[in-house]
């Protein structure tokens, strides 16, 4: 069964050739938050491309994710300015606090972690962003406080990640 939203995207690209691969993958990720195995197979069938090739293209670009993101998607900036402000340490601290590696999603589905290139807020370095909300000048010690804020928010909303 093709998920209806993927079907919708593929219909929009009826008769498309291999040059449409990246735009289609982008739209699928926009709709699902990531590229699932099933989605990749649907796209490769639609374009008549081998799945190994679609995986090859998708894994080449950092923008594509292969696991469902958490309710809160945490991005740690690893751009030059943040690097100088020791964002490597920040990334490690975040990973330790969440118990996951960059590219992974926590078991409760609440958080996912991603290391990203410059987010364009160098004056605030080092930057940690959660669902697009920037947290400025984040030291390793303040990571837990920030994460707890979002945990509390989830509890208040009465939702979990699932």
């Amino acid at each position: 069964m093709i998920a209806p939203d993927i079907d919708f995207i593929l219909r929009r690209h009826a008769g498309a050739g291999r040059d449409a691969l990246i735009p289609i993958l982008q739209e699928v990720q926009e709709a699902h938050g990531y590229l699932s195995r099933e989605a990749i197979i649907c796209v490769s069938r639609h374009l008549g491309l081998p799945a190994s090739k679609v995986c090859g293209v998708a894994t080449f670009y950092n923008e594509f994710r292969f696991r469902a993101p958490g309710k809160f998607h945490v991005q740690v900036c690893r751009g030059t300015a943040c690097h100088v402000k020791r964002s490597a340490r920040l990334l490690d601290a975040t990973a330790t606090a969440l118990g996951i590696k960059p590219g992974e999603t926590s078991r409760d589905g609440l958080f996912s972690l991603e290391a990203v290139a410059c987010v364009g807020a160098c004056a605030l370095a080092p930057v940690l962003a959660v669902n697009g909300e920037f947290h400025a000048c984040v030291g390793p010690d303040s990571v837990r406080r920030i994460l707890d804020f979002y945990r509390g928010k989830a509890a208040r909303d009465g939702t979990d990640g699932g």
Partner: protein
């Protein structure tokens, strides 16, 4: 022709060709790790860099078109230094386990490190620690030994049209992998082993059955028999330093006896049986309006491709088992009965030029009563390894004849080893079956040679038969697409061999063979066909006796039970 100056010497070059090709023709050996003869250059490895006058940087000769008056230096200190550095960098994260590596002695990376005088580790890189993929019955992938030259990826895509593997990730994290990093066994890999032939290192190798075979030979309770495929006797010699195209059938039989095999059978005889059954099946389809064009079924990589990518053509496949499986079935039925042996006591080994035969032998369809008909499959390379291990001198042994009753073949069966040979063999017998007369010209030049797609029309009585032969699955796919689109209604019979050129160029054959070697191997089979007397399957007395004594006639109930099978759609990620 244009003239270029190489190392101060004028050499001829063809306009438009790449510098590397011109240099090699002139006898100048410039090393490469990523070049695949016959495919467009990829320029990935940079080993073939040369100095070109007027150019500041070193230029990869594989991707540089020649031009009149070009002046190049192929082995200048600068070029040599660059090559050596490349090898040193490749070695930076390469496992240092040459002594234990299956490719030791046949590894291009090892050769180049030797040739360029690499004597110490100058760069220490972080090692990768990937899992070795042993999931496939045919091929083992050891990603840590991969140098990312891309030859396997290109052969899989461009020669075979399969694309089971591709580059994943990027930069220092680049790796060659299947879709979703899953095991080769569940991927679209068709087990052909062309990637193994292409690989310059030990990153790809066959799933070895050497241990099992040695154990069986050592077990007094086992009755160990062996069959050898048509294309093995004309390639095994290369493993022992003889030139490509040397046929050593007799010595090989003697060696197999020397190794302790109690019977040495010839799969070419089973190929003769395949001819009888397949020709009868074609007659049947032509007369009863069965599904046409009928397609041959002796190549297991091709069968898997049809099952997974062209299930609408499964009905077109001949129901015949491959010669290996026909002989396997007869050994554990007919032969066992004649010898009063319990089939469970027999250990049946096949020597094949092929890695996909390992997969085929394990197919559930190929087992009867819960036991496989063929217990182990050795590639030509593995047989050579066993011969060396046991210290046998192939050249010193007196040639021996194959065993009766499953050892005597015609040259028609032998031709199965070259692309087009199976079709030629079937047409000879088909003519006899339909007209009662032999073909006046049994040799069919149009179906011979290494081309990927060959065609001919044959007149048999009032029948005008369209025959096509494809080898290399990319060629076969093009043909299938044409048939699907309804453009090839003129064809009634199609032979497909998975590997380009047929079994002589199979994935289990000796490494390092270029197009000339493959051509020489083909010619060896053609010479056998030219020189011997029995050139048709129906003219093979042993085949006649087998039908009289046991099978009845082609397509009889017993033949159908032992020699035929059915295929079904296979669900894999394409």
């Amino acid at each position: 022709m244009i003239t270029i100056d190489a190392n101060g010497r004028p050499i001829n070059a063809r306009p438009g060709e790449m510098l590397l090709d011109a240099l090699r023709r002139a006898g100048l050996s410039v090393p490469t790790l990523c070049h695949v003869e016959g495919l467009p250059p990829s320029g990935a490895c940079r080993m073939c860099v040369v100095e070109v006058e007027g150019q500041r940087a070193l230029v990869p000769s594989c991707a540089l078109p020649v031009s009149e008056g070009m002046k190049v230096r192929t082995h200048s200190p600068r070029a040599l230094r660059a090559r050596k550095t490349i090898v040193e960098l490749l070695l930076a994260n390469h496992p240092d386990d040459c002594l234990y590596c299956v490719r030791s002695g046949a590894c291009r990376l090892q050769d180049l490190a030797e040739e360029l005088g690499v004597r110490q580790r100058r760069y220490g890189g972080a090692r990768t620690a990937s899992k070795v993929d042993t999931s496939s019955p045919s091929i083992i992938r050891d990603p840590d030994k991969c140098i990312l030259c891309g030859k396997c990826v290109r052969v899989c895509e461009e020669v075979q049209g399969v694309s089971a593997i591709d580059f994943h990730g990027r930069g220092s994290r680049t790796r060659v992998s299947t879709a979703f990093d899953e095991g080769l066994n569940v991927s679209s890999c068709i087990n052909c082993g062309q990637c193994i032939l292409a690989c310059p290192t030990g990153a790809l190798r066959e799933q070895s059955h050497v241990k099992e075979v040695l154990a069986a030979l050592d077990d007094p309770k086992k009755f160990v028999v062996v069959q050898h495929a048509p294309a093995v006797s004309v390639t095994l010699a290369e493993e022992f330093g003889l030139k490509p195209g040397t046929d050593i059938a007799g010595q090989m039989t003697a060696v197999l006896r020397g190794l302790g095999f109690q019977r040495v059978f010839d799969a070419s005889l089973a190929a003769d049986l395949t001819v009888m059954e397949e020709a009868s099946e074609l007659v049947d389809r032509l007369r009863s309006g069965g599904r046409l064009p009928m397609m041959t079924s002796c190549s297991p990589g091709w069968i898997k491709l049809v099952e997974q990518a062209y299930p609408d053509f499964i009905e077109n496949l001949s129901t015949c088992k491959s010669p290996q499986q026909m002989l396997g079935a007869l050994v554990k039925s007919y032969f066992a009965e004649r010898q009063s042996l319990d089939p469970a006591q027999i250990f049946s080994v096949s020597v094949a030029p092929c890695t996909a035969k390992k997969f085929e032998a394990e197919r559930p369809e190929m087992a009867r009563g819960g036991a496989a008909d063929v217990d182990a499959v050795l590639t030509t390379r593995e047989l050579a390894q066993i011969i060396r291990m046991r210290g046998l001198d192939v050249g010193a042994l007196a040639p021996g004849p194959a065993d009766s009753p499953l050892g005597e073949r015609s040259t028609a069966g032998k031709l199965f080893g070259a692309s087009g040979g199976a079709a030629e063999a079937v047409l000879r017998t088909l003519h006899f079956m339909l007209t009662g007369k032999e073909l006046e010209q049994p040799r069919m030049p149009a179906l011979r040679g290494p081309k990927g797609l060959k065609e001919t029309r044959v007149r048999i009585g009032d029948l005008d038969l369209g025959v096509a032969v494809a080898s290399g699955l990319a060629s076969a796919r093009r043909l299938l697409e044409d048939i699907r689109e309804g453009r090839r209604r003129d064809l009634q019979f199609i032979e497909v061999m998975t590997c380009p050129g047929g079994c002589v160029a199979g994935g289990g054959q000796p490494l390092g063979a270029g197009p000339e070697a493959v051509e020489a191997r083909m010619q060896a089979l053609y010479r056998i066909d030219r020189d011997e007397r029995v050139r048709t399957a129906h003219g093979n007395e042993s085949v006649g006796r087998l039908y009289r004594e046991y099978l009845g006639r082609p397509l009889s109930n017993r033949s159908r039970k032992l020699l035929h099978t059915r295929y079904a759609r296979r669900d894999v990620v394409l």
